[in-house]
């Protein structure tokens, strides 16, 4: 039997390299791809896109449609940089019906429905189905049965604006924004939304304990940042002020970067360290004793 920050665990699961990469700063591609500056790389990773409008190219987005007024005109070299970036970090738009049906079959056995929007199966989201299969494959059935998760909706746009994703009423929504972005962001966001489901599923007394621990952790500044969509420092701000965002982000860390999280906790002292151990124990319980490398 293994032990993780003082807790016995059933076993340790090794996430695939692409998921485990979330523990490290996002590797820079600028300088290695034509037309890709550091600034552009950050924008593409944030979800901005380049679109051809008539004879010119425009940079912007994070929003639906092509008529946005928040875009700026850019040169052809920026379009080249975007295409080169997307080839390396983007989600494949090649069809993969097999991945879709395998995923659907597994989720169905766990009473979790999966729908695509606006149609049941969308060939252009083959890469997204593959990623979903890989990420959900990391989670034990016992855990998925415990989570308050009834449905995963792939594609579409948010109700009021083009939000990236959401967990609402037992459903995870992965909007088109996420599907058109980076694979790393997709992995981070999916696990983050699963984390909202985790927090939602805590019994009231466990939720209170979690909130108390979060207060101590936030006050002690012992927060762990991960870079996807935004830089790691920015992502910590949400965790500091919103307990459910802390819970969601640390779920992602528990799965994708278990070793880094345990190392971080072991390096703490005082009340923050005790609070973190209580939090880690809650994740471990929710995962039926399984932890991640």
């Amino acid at each position: 039997m293994s032990v993780a920050v003082g807790f016995p665990v059933k076993g340790l699961v090794q996430p695939p390299r692409e998921v485990a990469a979330l523990r490290d700063p996002w590797d820079r591609l600028s300088g290695r791809l034509p037309g890709l500056s550091i600034e552009l790389e950050d924008e593409f990773r944030f979800g901005h896109v380049v679109t051809a409008v008539g004879d010119e190219f425009r940079l912007g987005g994070s929003i639906k449609g092509g008529s946005s007024s928040v875009w700026i005109t850019v040169g052809e070299e920026v379009d080249e940089g975007y295409r080169a970036w997307r080839e390396v970090e983007g989600i494949s738009t090649e069809p993969d019906a097999e991945a879709y049906y395998r995923l659907k079959h597994r989720l169905s056995a766990l009473s979790i429905d999966m729908r695509s929007h606006p149609e049941e199966y969308l060939p252009r989201h083959g890469g997204a189905y593959q990623l979903l299969e890989m990420l959900l494959g990391l989670l034990p059935d016992e855990h998925l049965l415990w989570l308050p998760l009834e449905m995963i909706v792939v594609g579409g746009w948010g109700p009021d604006a083009a939000k990236a994703s959401a967990y609402r009423d037992g459903r995870i929504f992965l909007y088109d924004f996420v599907l058109g972005g980076a694979r790393r962001t997709f992995a981070g966001i999916l696990l983050h939304e699963m984390g909202h489901a985790f927090y939602s599923g805590l019994r009231p007394e466990r939720k209170r304990a979690f909130e108390n621990s979060h207060s101590v952790i936030a006050c002690s500044g012992a927060l762990l940042g991960t870079e996807f969509l935004l830089d790691a420092t920015s992502r910590v701000v949400y965790q500091e002020f919103l307990v459910d965002e802390f819970a969601a982000e640390m779920y992602m860390a528990f799965v994708a970067q278990g070793g880094r999280l345990r190392e971080f906790i072991r390096g703490l002292e005082g009340p923050g360290a005790d609070a973190w151990r209580r939090v880690y124990g809650q994740y471990l319980d929710a995962f039926d004793g399984w932890a991640y490398i």
Partner: protein, 107 residues
């Protein structure tokens, strides 16, 4: 009476503009804190913004944190629905109130 400070975010809220804006607002907040103590409201006015980069979003988050730590409440005035959509994609609406028109004084 509640102290209120309004800061106009840059038209092109890119990396360079974000660094300047962040430094300018933080310097004033620190100065204000030293003079009058904690409290008040910071209004981040996005009326002139027609492009916001990830650095702009990051600067907005950093400002929110530093202002809250200094005891200031923060709201954002964002008339453009598409700029608002970018901020919402980043989840900023979960942290600070986003309104489309400037608030009435001391509202």
């Amino acid at each position: 009476m509640t102290e209120e400070r309004t800061y106009l975010a840059p038209t092109e809220f890119d990396r360079k503009a974000a660094q300047r804006f962040l430094a300018e607002v933080l310097a004033e907040i620190e100065e204000e804190e030293g003079r009058k103590g904690k409290g008040g409201r910071v209004v981040l006015d996005f009326s002139a913004v027609h492009y916001i980069s990830s650095a702009g979003v990051g600067a907005t988050l950093r400002l929110y944190r530093e202002c809250r730590m200094a005891g200031w409440d923060v709201i954002a005035v964002v008339p453009d629905s598409e700029i608002r959509a970018v901020l919402e994609v980043a989840g900023i609406d979960r942290l600070m109130k986003i309104v489309s028109e400037p608030p009435k004084k001391n509202a």
